[in-house]
């Protein structure tokens, strides 16, 4: 059933920009349209591009914020989230914890 929703209605996670729009909902309680507009501006793409995997696959690699395919050298996990926090201007708890562990 999860796949049915993913195909029918969802943004597509890290295939596109779904994780980034979700972060704005969670970090700033933004409704969907406001979150999409905010992320599109930060990524310098159109709102329509946010769910376009052709556009977003390349844009995510350019920004090095994590891509869905297994690309050697591309930012993974916490590395990607540290860059996403800077890009979106939001606090990500596990990134803050990493900074704390490093004394930053």
């Amino acid at each position: 059933m999860s796949i049915s929703h993913a195909l029918a209605s969802s943004m597509g996670g890290i295939r596109t920009a779904g994780d980034l729009v979700a972060r704005m909902q969670l970090a700033r309680k933004m409704r969907l349209d406001e979150a999409k507009k905010y992320v599109a501006e930060k990524l310098d793409v159109s709102v329509a591009d946010l769910c376009d995997s052709t556009v977003m696959r390349r844009r995510r690699e350019e920004l090095d914020i994590g891509v869905i395919t297994a690309v050697a050298g591309a930012a993974k996990g916490l590395e990607a989230k540290a860059r996403i926090a800077d890009l979106l201007g939001v606090r990500i708890n596990c990134v803050e914890r990493l900074k704390s562990k490093m004394g930053l």
Binding site: M1, S2, I3, S4, H5, A6, L7, A8, S9, S10, M11, G12, G13, I14, R15, T16, G18, D19, V21, A22, R23, Q25, L26, A27, K29, M30, R31, L32, A35, V47, A48, C51, I65, G66, I68, K76, G77, L78, A80, K81, I84, R91, I92, N93, C94, E96, R97
Partner: protein
């Protein structure tokens, strides 16, 4: 007009005329409007639903550009757990299942939770739960929730220490039942905030209080107070997903900030959840297995639209087995799941599912 194939609320196929579909759409919306004292769906919204159900297409979807965010309750157990969670029993760890949701299924967020999904059984193994959350936080990119059910029912005898209102009420012991609820909800609240604090310690992105108010108004009050605590004391985002469309009044007199909780419908639940400080609200509208999917979906969307109209926080409607118009069957057919999914976004105007 040729007959249209759709589903009943138990998942079985049914053939209906166009006129019957329209009648069910109108009747479903009217039923929600009457119960919730909210507006019925507009004619153009009913037209959308009719055209969607009339289409012979196997699957349906939102218009390009209208995609919404997905969050998930029940954690990754749909992959590794058993039939009790509609699980398919894959030999995967929770970390593997989480990464599968991220990389293979393209989910926007995901959740870690204990297989026995209530806070009470999860509490004794909290350090294990923290380690699973830490592991996915290190290796994945999408936001990570930890989820559980407050499940006040486990605090009553025979599972817990407090007298059971379900035993006391039939005997007419109303004062004793109310006292038991008040004591039990304090214990539940204490466990929920303790577990929540542990997930804040390890840096989770959010906490999901799922199936909230499954034991009625006492559980809802404990959860609302936990949301307040979490918003005040942690950096966690809080999602509150409900158990049912109407809050049962096992106590009947409990209030949150002057509002009686028993009998609240989804749009009223949203208001108190929002006021408590939550980041996401997940309304539930139950499926009637004896009515058609057009009836159930129109009814569900009418309730949900009343939430999204006034909400200041994102609304992620529950559209799983037996809720949000989806049939009450462990393998809901994709023809109606995709229709319920898309219509909840297009007409219900939800921010996520």
């Amino acid at each position: 007009m040729a007959e249209i194939q759709t589903r009943m609320g138990d998942g079985y196929s049914v053939f209906m005329s166009g006129e019957e579909i329209r009648e069910d759409l109108v009747a479903g919306s009217a039923d929600a409007a009457k119960k919730g004292k909210i507006p019925v769906l507009e004619p153009d919204e009913l037209d959308y639903l009719f055209e969607m159900f009339a289409s012979p297409s196997r699957i349906w979807g939102v218009e390009r550009g209208h995609e919404a965010v997905v969050s998930k309750d029940g954690s990754t157990n749909s992959l590794y757990s058993a039939q009790l969670s509609s699980g398919v029993g894959l030999p995967l760890s929770r970390e593997q299942a989480f990464r599968t949701f991220e990389r293979a299924f393209g989910f926007d967020t995901m959740e870690v939770g204990h297989t026995d999904y209530s806070v009470k059984p999860a509490k004794p193994i909290v350090v294990l739960e923290q380690n699973h959350v830490e592991a996915v936080l290190h290796t994945t990119i999408i936001p990570v929730f930890y989820g559980f059910m407050p499940n006040l029912g486990l605090y009553y005898q025979p599972d817990g220490p407090f007298p059971n209102p379900s035993d006391l009420l039939p005997k007419g012991q109303i004062a004793e039942a109310r006292a038991a609820t008040e004591e039990a909800l304090e214990a539940c609240y204490t466990d929920v905030v303790w577990m929540t604090g542990k997930m804040a310690e390890v840096g989770a992105d959010g906490i999901n209080y799922d199936t909230t108010a499954s034991t009625g108004d006492g559980e809802f009050l404990a959860t609302l107070r936990a949301v307040e605590w979490t918003a005040k004391n942690t950096d966690l985002a809080v999602e509150v997903g409900m158990a049912a469309e109407c809050v049962l009044g096992f106590h009947g007199q409990l209030e949150y900030r002057g509002r009686r909780l028993a009998g609240m419908w989804p749009h009223q639940q949203m208001e108190v959840v929002q006021e408590a400080g939550a980041h996401v609200f997940g309304p539930v509208v139950n499926t009637n297995s004896r009515r058609s999917t057009p009836w159930n979906l129109a009814r569900a969307i009418t309730f949900v639209k009343a939430c999204t109209k006034d909400a200041k926080i994102p609304i992620h409607a529950n559209v799983g087995m037996g809720v949000g118009g989806v049939p009450m069957f462990e393998i809901p057919p994709i023809d109606v799941v995709t229709r319920c999914s898309a219509a909840m976004v297009e007409i219900g105007k939800v921010d996520g599912l």
